[in-house]
């Protein structure tokens, strides 16, 4: 076995080490960090139906198993082999893929409850979790809803009503006015009373929709004009909301837990300021920003609000916190939150277990003084999306390889997918919630770096490059964050990890090491000399493994091998970002300088029929913007439907086919701009 472009002595060394065995990395398998022990004598339910899918359904099933409760999963037809279906004791198909026909299909879910005899329903988050109609129908059939009472859902579901209740419960609310504003001048007067800047929007609009910010009288008049028009036309409800705009705020929320006997606890805060398009990306508990007195004040107000609506079960009170630690009530979520695991990590409570106990009518075991802050927990939401496009546009695909870093200690991964799962257009593109835990924030952060580096995801584009950049950014590390973090830190959009001279050398040395190893089929290497620098790269790995644990000049690095080919092109994931490196022998590199540069032919703007067949459906029209991977049209050939998708994001220039038409191979179907 001779090598290409390697000295004979090196060759001998490598051959000697060739048969060294590969040692798998070993570490304690993670267990969830619950400090409370489940009391088996406390009888709750025999069987619970989980009206949800994905990671949260799996999460609930895990606690049910611990409590000895039988579980029923519901699923759509495309989810029939999903993880939550496999984990549950029973599973019922409730309809086709679209959520409106399956996971939101109350009739089918009620049928599933009846046919399986489930005594209670856990709704998870999203879907029917805050649907009072669903809660009512359950109550009518004597099935327990694991969540708050209907009236609490209703009271907190309405933005304006919840704010009035909060005010009455002496909870800090954002100063503002809500009601019919007749003229622009009236709006200006209100704005002046509140003090600039103010936010103007239609009362009935949800989230940040149609929100306008005014810094002066003129902008207030303009905002009034737009918002009142929108209120009348879009919502048929001409009430306006004018309130103080909190500039550069943090989003901090308090977890509350209450029982049906008037007891309520606050389980500390979660810092959720890192967001993109109003969706959370990285959360942590506790917050670096709160001092004990602010924390206590926020916690006590959250409990006051919970008591005011006779809240039971787990819930979350969201606050905006300004730079002077003034906090204002935003809204209350009457369900289990996505980011609940970090609270579980620092308090040791199993929130799902508590929800089930409370739903059965048990009193809370804990007193407020029993609730600790033990260490620090951080959660990264790992999404199937392209972080290079507006911090994350959804991508879809099949997980061809998938390994969670659960072999590391103090890492918790909540997911509902596995290798081979499809990330489809029908559901949330979240792959998992990656939670790390440590005695200190620094420990939790360093563990998060390790966990992200060890996470193997192939087949879909994912946001690990962005997550890793966020958690290693000096501003994040110092705790200097706000909801504007991403646009402020990356004003021109996210561009991946930027290499410095030293890290560039590490990357090149690693790629060269891998290249040589793959040529020599050995498992241990080497001292490499590359042009002007020398780095020692050591490691034990298998060429078949996606993970490359390396020691580069005594620094431990976990790289991932994404691909390598015969022409020396190696794609490595290094510091979260994937880099393309070409490794050539000296001779090949010299000769390569004679090779001409080629301009790649642009075939991405034309979609041709790959086969003769019938056009079944055309999903786009001229002027539409299509995302990468989005279906453009469907061609049926030999009774088989083939979905043709966009290879990149683009605007549709023209459509040259219509449904029912017969097309030949190579016929032009759609042109993109």
């Amino acid at each position: 076995m001779a090598s290409h472009g390697l000295s004979p002595s090196l060759n001998r060394l490598l051959l000697a080490l060739k048969y060294a065995t590969f040692q798998p990395r070993c570490c304690a398998v993670h267990k969830a960090h619950y400090s409370t022990v489940y009391n088996g004598n406390e009888k709750t339910f025999d069987k619970i139906l989980i009206a949800n899918r994905g990671e949260i359904a799996c999460r609930v099933i895990k606690t049910c198993k611990k409590m000895g409760i039988q579980t029923v999963a519901v699923h759509s037809d495309v989810d029939s082999s999903a993880v939550h279906v496999k984990m549950a004791d029973e599973a019922v198909c409730v309809g086709p893929a679209p959520t409106s026909k399956s996971y939101l299909n109350m009739d089918a879910i009620m049928d599933a409850i009846r046919s399986t005899g489930a005594q209670a329903v856990h709704p998870g988050y999203g879907f029917l979790s805050e649907n009072k109609e669903f809660a009512k129908r359950l109550a009518a059939e004597g099935v327990t809803f694991i969540g708050p009472d209907t009236h609490a859902i209703q009271a907190m579901g309405d933005k304006i009503e919840s704010k009035l209740i909060a005010k009455a419960a002496k909870v800090n609310t954002i100063p503002g006015f809500d009601g019919v504003v007749k003229t622009a001048e009236e709006a200006v007067k209100i704005a002046q009373d509140i003090g600039y800047p103010v936010m103007i929007k239609a009362s009935a609009g949800g989230g940040g929709k149609g929100m306008r910010i005014a810094w002066n009288n003129e902008e207030t008049r303009e905002g009034f004009r737009f918002s009142s028009q929108e209120a009348a036309s879009s919502f048929g409800d001409d009430r306006l909301l004018i309130e103080k705009y909190i500039d550069n705020p943090r989003h901090i929320e308090i977890q509350v837990l209450a029982d049906k006997h008037g007891n309520a606890l606050w389980l500390n805060e979660r810092e959720c300021s890192i967001q993109r398009r109003n969706q959370k990306v990285v959360e942590e508990a506790p917050s670096t920003f709160l001092d004990p007195s602010t924390r206590r004040a926020m916690g006590e107000q959250a409990v006051q609000l919970a008591k005011a609506v006779q809240y039971s079960s787990a819930g979350t009170v969201e606050f905006l916190v300004d730079s002077k630690k003034n906090f204002y009530f935003l809204e209350m979520n009457t369900r289990l939150q996505v980011e609940h695991p970090i609270t579980e990590c620092i308090t040791g409570l199993d929130l799902v277990e508590q929800m089930i106990r409370v739903a059965k009518g048990y009193k809370l075991h804990h007193k407020q003084e029993d609730i600790p802050i033990n260490g620090w927990a951080i959660e990264s939401r790992v999404y199937a999306e392209d972080p290079y496009k507006s911090f994350g546009l959804p991508s879809i695909g099949r997980l061809s390889q998938y390994q969670e870093p659960v072999n590391l200690c103090n890492v918790r991964v909540d997911s509902g997918i596995q290798e081979g799962s499809d990330i489809s257009i029908y559901y949330d593109p979240m792959i998992s919630k990656l939670v790390t835990y440590g005695a200190t924030r620094a420990e939790a952060l360093s563990k998060m770096e390790d966990a992200l580096d060890n996470y193997v995801i192939r087949g879909v584009t994912h946001n690990i490059p962005l997550l890793r950049e966020i958690i290693t950014h000096p501003r994040f590390i110092s705790g200097d964050i706000s909801t504007n973090f991403l646009p402020e830190v990356y004003p021109d959009g996210f561009k991946g990890h930027q290499l410095e001279a030293s890290t560039r050398r590490e990357l090149l040395a690693s790629a060269a090491a891998l290249h040589v190893a793959s040529q020599l089929r050995s498992q241990r290497i080497l001292v490499l000399y590359i042009r002007m620098f020398s780095l020692e790269v050591c490691g034990q790995w298998s060429l078949a493994s996606p993970l490359l644990p390396l020691t580069i000049n005594n620094t431990h690095r976990m790289l991932q091998s994404l691909s390598r080919d015969a022409s020396g092109e190696i794609v490595l994931q290094y510091l979260g970002t994937s880099f393309k490196v070409r490794v050539l022998s000296k001779l090949a590199a010299e000769l390569n300088s004679y090779m001409p540069e080629k301009v790649p032919e642009d075939t991405t703007s034309i979609l041709r029929s790959p086969m003769p067949g019938t056009v079944v459906a055309v999903s786009v029209k001229a002027g539409d913007t299509v995302a990468e991977g989005q279906e453009i049209c469907v061609i049926e050939a030999m009774k088989m439907q083939n979905s043709l998708t966009a290879v990149r994001q683009a605007k549709v220039k023209s459509v040259h086919c219509k449904a029912g038409e017969t097309v030949g191979e190579g016929d032009l179907l759609v042109e993109l701009e």
Binding site: H4, G420, M595
Partner: protein
């Protein structure tokens, strides 16, 4: 003593030796010729070659082979033409227009010829052909592959029939070596006229994009005969031959990438038909489970999926060297390894034309299967085939005789044959795709397999023609045939396996089948329906 000093060579050496005057002049001439041979057609032409984005014949050989492993032969051979002023010294180049010899690729022996475009445009003289024939004969004697790096303007017109004779000498050796040692052609420049038949006779033809051409007659002749306007690239470029004609098996971006890929490709091949399929050290556990495969076949039986996903997931390290990836894409063929051992992979591709068999895919599959069989490479076949493609184009094109080629190739093959039915195995295409009946050694079905004469709808229309309750009959048919049982109860598949265990099972089977011995009845040669 002056004289003595003058002719003392290597005075530093202990045993000083005397050389006669004539000896010295030979030595000088040797050095001079060697130097000239290394420069080919001279620095000016070398620069011109580089300017075209091409490497020289010698640079190519050097990059293809392990460092310092090249042993050249016939460096001093010159052409013998004396017409048209060819006899002049300035028209003689030591080694003429081709570099030949042997060397090693990752330590394994290979014979190489590399045509030198800088000498008379790489044109083929009698001497040029003689050099190629010599190394081909040696390759046959010792049992080692031959790689040809083609870059030639065609016949040496000045030599006339001598040149034509040279081509024929090479063709004959190509044919005699076929099935004895692997022969690979890499087209790195023009290759026109009769010259094209040497690559066509070899096992694999690769091309370099934008700088290589293969055609019988160039665009000028085409224009004068058929009045067609066509560019060199359209007529015989890499794209044409890898997507339309199926003449070339793969194309690479440039010389460097092509040669590096050729090295990689070479690792898959045995040295001769006397050698077993090579086994490389394997890091991928042979008992690795592949859970992703359990869900890969879609819920709806009419929905497509990518057969390459299955191939990549099963083979060692997801490493698959696909042959003809852009031609007849409804069948996937190529080389991979299972537990380190080279295997040939054949799979229907549901993503393209539903994975049906047509003329092109049958021929593509047949040639690949025959190569594997000739060189002791086990064949693993993944079946998801709805049948042969209907239509006048196919019937007029002779799908019957072309489809027969694939059938013939699978039936005749005596290497280990393992078949996995992933979904549909309908009609005659079921028989063709390495079925049990064609001496498949191990035939598996996944739980999603359906072995039947045709799909439910068509079958019911025939069985229950004119009857009502077609839907009910269809459901009954689906229940009966749209599953692996009808084949399994008859022993036509050996087992119904969980897809996730496929890799493990195939690796285990290949170990057992390594000692397989099967001989076809004696014949002069078989008569495949060409």
């Amino acid at each position: 003593s002056k004289l003595r000093e003058k002719y003392l060579i290597n005075s530093s050496q202990r045993d000083c030796r005397w050389y006669s005057v004539s000896n010295l002049s030979v030595k000088e001439r040797i050095e001079k010729k060697r130097k000239a041979a290394l420069l080919g057609g001279g620095q000016k032409r070398i620069d011109a070659q580089h300017k075209k984005g091409k490497l020289t014949a010698r640079e190519r050989v050097e990059l293809l082979l392990d460092p310092e492993s090249f042993v050249e032969s016939d460096m001093f051979l010159e052409h013998r033409c004396s017409d048209f002023g060819m006899e002049q010294d300035k028209n003689k180049f030591p080694g003429d227009s081709v570099v030949t010899g042997r060397g090693r690729i990752n330590g394994r022996l290979v014979y190489v010829f590399s045509q030198d475009f800088t000498v008379f445009g790489g044109s083929l003289s009698g001497a040029h052909a003689q050099k190629i024939c010599k190394i081909m004969d040696q390759a046959m004697t010792v049992g080692a592959p031959v790689i040809g790096l083609n870059d030639s303007g065609g016949a040496r017109i000045q030599e006339g029939v001598e040149s034509l004779a040279g081509y024929a000498d090479i063709f004959l050796r190509n044919v005699l070596a076929s099935g004895v040692v692997p022969q690979i052609s890499l087209i790195m420049g023009p290759c026109a006229g009769g010259a094209v038949y040497s690559p066509a006779l070899t096992d694999f033809t690769f091309m370099v994009k934008d700088t290589s051409y293969l055609f019988i007659t160039g665009p000028d002749v085409v224009k004068s005969v058929t009045n067609e306007d066509v560019t060199q690239e359209e007529l015989g470029g890499a794209k044409t031959h890898t997507t339309v004609s199926g003449v070339a098996h793969r194309a690479f971006e440039n010389d460097v990438e092509a040669l590096l890929n050729l090295r990689e490709f070479f690792n898959f091949l045995p040295l001769s038909n006397q050698d077993p399929a090579p086994i490389r050290e394997c890091h991928d556990p042979n008992d690795r489970l592949v859970p992703a495969l359990d869900t890969i076949v879609p819920f709806e039986s009419t929905k497509a999926y990518d057969m390459l996903d299955i191939v990549h997931a099963i083979v060692d390290e997801r490493d698959f060297f696909e042959i003809m990836p852009n031609y007849a894409k409804n069948i996937v063929v190529g080389f991979a390894r299972m537990n380190g051992r080279t295997v040939g992979i054949v799979g229907n591709q549901p993503k393209v034309a539903s994975g049906c068999l047509d003329i092109n895919s049958s021929v593509k599959g047949a040639r690949f299967v025959r190569f594997c069989d000739a060189f002791n490479i086990p064949i693993i076949t993944f079946v998801d085939v709805p049948g042969f493609l209907p239509g006048t184009a196919q019937e007029y094109g002779g799908i019957i005789r072309h489809g027969a080629k694939l059938l013939y190739a699978f039936a005749e093959a005596t290497v280990p044959k393992i078949t996995v039915i992933t979904r549909k195995a309908y009609g005659g295409a079921y028989d063709v795709m390495s079925s049990k009946h064609l001496r498949g050694d191990v035939n598996y079905a996944w739980p999603t397999a359906e072995v039947a004469v045709m799909g439910a709808k068509g079958a019911v229309q025939i069985i229950f023609r004119g009857k009502e309750n077609q839907a009910e009959a269809e459901a009954e048919y689906v229940d009966k045939f749209a599953n692996p049982f009808p084949a399994a109860v008859r022993g036509f598949v050996d087992d119904i396996i969980e897809p996730s265990t496929t890799r493990k099972k195939i690796c285990r089977d290949l170990e057992v089948l390594a000692s397989k011995k099967q001989v076809n009845p004696w014949k002069k040669h078989a008569n495949i329906p060409l």
